[in-house]
Symmetry: C2
Subunit: 211 residues, 2 copies
DNA sequence: AATAACAGACCGACTAGTCGGTTTTTATAA
DNA sequence: TTATAAAAACCGACTAGTCGGTCTGTTATT
C-alpha cells in the first residue's frame, strides 16, 4: 500500500479542524503542523487557503448531485425517485459529515469565482428535487395543493439540518434516520388515493416503515 | 421622538453587515464607519466584538424561547400547541432574519463562556418541542411509531432552513409559508383517528388549509 | 541533470483592542 | 434659571499581535 499523499492528508486534517473550529478558527500554520508538513508543502498543493475551501465544497456537492441524478435515472415513478434521492442524500452524512459542515457553515467565505461554480451545482441539485415533486403532482401521487418550491425546500432543510445534530456512532444508524425522514415526507406528500394504490403501499412497507 | 441610541445603531449595522459578509468578513472599523461613530463609541458600548456577537445570539434565542413557552401555555392540546409554536417560530423570520442568519452561521465562533449560556436556552427550546410531540403521542393525536427526537429535529430543521432561502418581500408572505409548513408537519404526525376527530379537523381547516 | 516535492524563515497587510483626550449630559446647589 | 462639577459618552491615532502568503533554499524522484 502506497503512503497517503500529502494533499490528501492536508485535506483530511483541514476538514477535521474546520469542522470543529470553523474556517477562520484554523490557521494554515495549524493545519501544516498537525499533519507534519510545512507552509511549502501546503502551498505546493494549493494556490491558497481559499482554494482548499473550494475543493472541499466541490467534492461534496459534486458527489450529492451525481447521486441524485443517478437515483432519478434508476427509478421511474416520482415516489420511488423521491425516496431514493432522500435515502442517498441522508446516507452521505456518514461519508461526508465534515464536508457538509464546512459546506453549510463556511460557504459565505468562498471567493466569488469559486462560489459561482458551487452555486451552479447546488442549483442543479435543487432542480432535480423540484422536478420530482412536480412530476409527482402531475402523476397524482403527490398532493396537488402543495407548492413545489416550498415543499422542496422543506425537504432539503429537514435533511440538511441533520448535520447540526447527527453523531456517527450515535444510538441510531444513518439508515434508520433516512427511513424516518422518508416516512415523514411521504406522509406529508402522498395523496389519499396514492396511499391506497398497491404498488405504493408495497413499496412503502419495504423501504420505509419498520414498524 | 428621541434619536436612536448608538448601541442600537451599532447592532443594526453589524447585523446587516454580518448577514451579508459573515462575522469574520466584517471589521470593527467597517461597522463604526458605516454607522458614523468611532472605535471609542463601539468599545464604550461593547466589551469586545465577541460580546456583540453574543448579544445578537441572545436577543434572538431569548425571543424564540419565550414565544414557544407562551404558545405552550396558551393552548391545551398537543396539536394546537405544536401549530402555535411552529407559526410563531416561522413568523420570527420577518422580525429577526439577520439575527437568525448570524445565529446559525456564526455560533461556532462564540467564546466558550458565551456559547454555554446560548446553548442552555437552545436546549430548552428543543425540549419544549420534544415535550409537545411526546404529549401528542401519549394523547393519541400523533403517530406512536415516531421517535420523538428525530421527529422534533426534522421539524426544527425544516423551519430553520428557511433562513437560507426566505426573502422578505418575496412572492410569498411568511404567514403563507408558516401555513404550508404546518400543513406538511400535521400530515406527517397526525394519526388516522386524529384526522377523523371533529375538533382537529375544524382546527385544521381554520389554521392550516388555505385550499 | 532536470524537475517536482517539500522545508521554514521571513514579510507585509490587516485588525481587535487601547488610551489619553474632548464633548455632551446629568446632578446639584446657589 | 444658571453656574459648575462630575460622570458618562464618544473620538481617533496608535499598538501589538496575528496570519496568509512568498521566497530561497534543500531533498527526493525520474
Amino acid at each position: 500500500m502506497v503512503e497517503k499523499q500529502l494533499k490528501e492528508r492536508i485535506i483530511e486534517t483541514a476538514l477535521k479542524l474546520f469542522e470543529k473550529y470553523g474556517y477562520h478558527g484554523v490557521t494554515v500554520d495549524r493545519i501544516v503542523t498537525e499533519c507534519n508538513t510545512s507552509k511549502g508543502g501546503f502551498y505546493h498543493n494549493f494556490k491558497s487557503k481559499d482554494e482548499l475551501l473550494y475543493h472541499i465544497h466541490d467534492v461534496f456537492i459534486t458527489y450529492v448531485l451525481n447521486k441524485a441524478q443517478e437515483a432519478y435515472a434508476k427509478y421511474k415513478t416520482p415516489t420511488e425517485r423521491l425516496c431514493a434521492i432522500i435515502q442517498s442524500f441522508v446516507k452521505v452524512f456518514d461519508l461526508y459529515k465534515p464536508h457538509i459542515t464546512v459546506f453549510y457553515q463556511e460557504s459565505t467565505y468562498l471567493k466569488p469565482e469559486y462560489s459561482k461554480k458551487i452555486n451552479e451545482k447546488r442549483e442543479q441539485f435543487k432542480q432535480v428535487i423540484f422536478q420530482v415533486i412536480r412530476e409527482g403532482i402531475e402523476a397524482g401521487e403527490f398532493r396537488s395543493e402543495l407548492p413545489v418550491e416550498i415543499t422542496g425546500m422543506s425537504i432539503i432543510g429537514m435533511v440538511n439540518w441533520t448535520y447540526k445534530w447527527y453523531k456517527p456512532n450515535g444510538s441510531m444508524t444513518i439508515e434508520e434516520i433516512a427511513k424516518i425522514f422518508t416516512d415523514l415526507i411521504l406522509h406529508s406528500l402522498l395523496t389519499e388515493s396514492a396511499k391506497q394504490k398497491e404498488e405504493i403501499t408495497t413499496f412503502f412497507l419495504k423501504n420505509v416503515s419498520r414498524f
